[in-house]
């Protein structure tokens, strides 16, 4: 009987991902923490968005790519559905232009997932392209915000999502 290491492979992966990606707690009381998953391939933007969210009292998980985001959510096709039921994400904010998987492709994957399709997804982009904006909104994005992201953008989005649907 191995009573020592009871962690499953999934938990180890989750833990190491969490260490790598930088989970930081917001100042809101425990179960009411507003947890945001932010996705951006830029070092500078990751640092800024993390700070914007923390200052807005959010718990933040920042990752550098769509595939890392899917890994974190457990949507990467690995047979690891056990242990992810406690993952509570209130909002996903993703950059649009990323190498590999774009924010749009990530949005689609999230909306295709029964576990996560209800999570609001906000697209961030420096480019104000109408066809791109329409496409994202049609695919179910909550908002498309133009970079650089400001504190007022984060506050507004958080208010809309927390207050909007009468939870």
């Amino acid at each position: 009987m191995f009573s020592g290491d009871m962690a499953t492979a999934d938990e180890i992966l989750r833990r190491s991902l969490t260490d790598e990606v930088g989970v930081s707690k917001g100042s809101v009381s425990g179960s009411e923490e507003f947890h945001v998953l932010a996705v951006d391939d830029s070092f500078v933007d990751r640092k800024v968005i993390e700070r914007l969210l923390k200052i807005s009292s959010c718990k933040v998980t920042v990752v550098e790519s769509g595939s890392r985001a899917l890994q974190y959510l457990g949507l990467d096709g690995e047979k690891s559905s056990v242990g992810f039921n406690d993952l509570k994400i209130n909002l996903i904010m993703t950059d649009y232009s990323m190498p590999g998987m774009t924010g749009y492709e990530l949005l689609k994957k999230i909306k295709e997932s029964s576990a996560f399709r209800e999570i609001p997804v906000v697209i961030m982009s420096s480019e104000n392209i109408l066809t791109r904006i329409d496409r994202c909104l049609e695919e179910g994005a909550e908002e498309y915000i133009i970079k650089p992201v400001k504190l007022s953008d984060v506050k507004r989005i958080k208010d809309v999502i927390m207050g909007g649907d009468g939870k």
Binding site: S42, F43, V44, D45, R51, P99, S126
Partner: protein, 152 residues
């Protein structure tokens, strides 16, 4: 006159100059709002990341433009990244050159691209020097026992 006040005056004047000359825009003020006692070095940290990122990108761009067969999509991708990060810290003049640079990429205009690379290197070098000076002035104010009067 109190040396702290003099140093603060210097800092305020220098900062105003950077905004007036277009080196920095309002996004830099946004970053200042994110700095507080719990994160007293936030702006320096972000700007340092910007310096590292930019230097990497400028090297990549120089290499890409030296190739026999120019990969404009790759160049555009690098410039897009540089445009993004400069915009995120408020380095307005760098950002503006990037916009022109991307246009030349789209036109597959090698001379235009080379000209822009030179320009963006210059603008980057300028804003780097100016930000380093700004941070030094801030350190001097703090060392003299003063506080940084933000917003200026």
């Amino acid at each position: 006159m109190d040396s702290v006040v003099l140093l603060q005056r210097q800092l305020v004047d220098y900062t105003a100059q950077l905004f007036n000359e277009g080196f920095l825009d309002d996004q830099f003020n946004q970053l200042q709002q994110l700095q507080d006692e719990s994160n007293p070095d936030f702006v320096v940290e972000v700007v340092t990341l910007f310096f590292e990122d930019s230097e990497r990108l400028l090297n990549e761009l120089a290499k890409a433009l030296e190739q026999q067969s120019i990969d404009y999509r790759k160049i555009d991708a690098h410039v897009h990244q540089l445009k993004g990060s400069s915009s995120s810290i408020g380095a307005q003049r760098v950002q503006k050159v990037c916009i022109a640079f991307r246009n030349y990429c789209e036109e597959r205009n090698i001379e235009g691209c080379q000209k822009c690379l030179q320009q963006v290197k210059n603008e980057y070098s300028l804003v780097k020097t100016k930000l380093e000076t700004l941070f030094k002035l801030e350190q001097q104010v703090l060392a003299a026992g003063g506080s940084i009067p933000w917003p200026m």
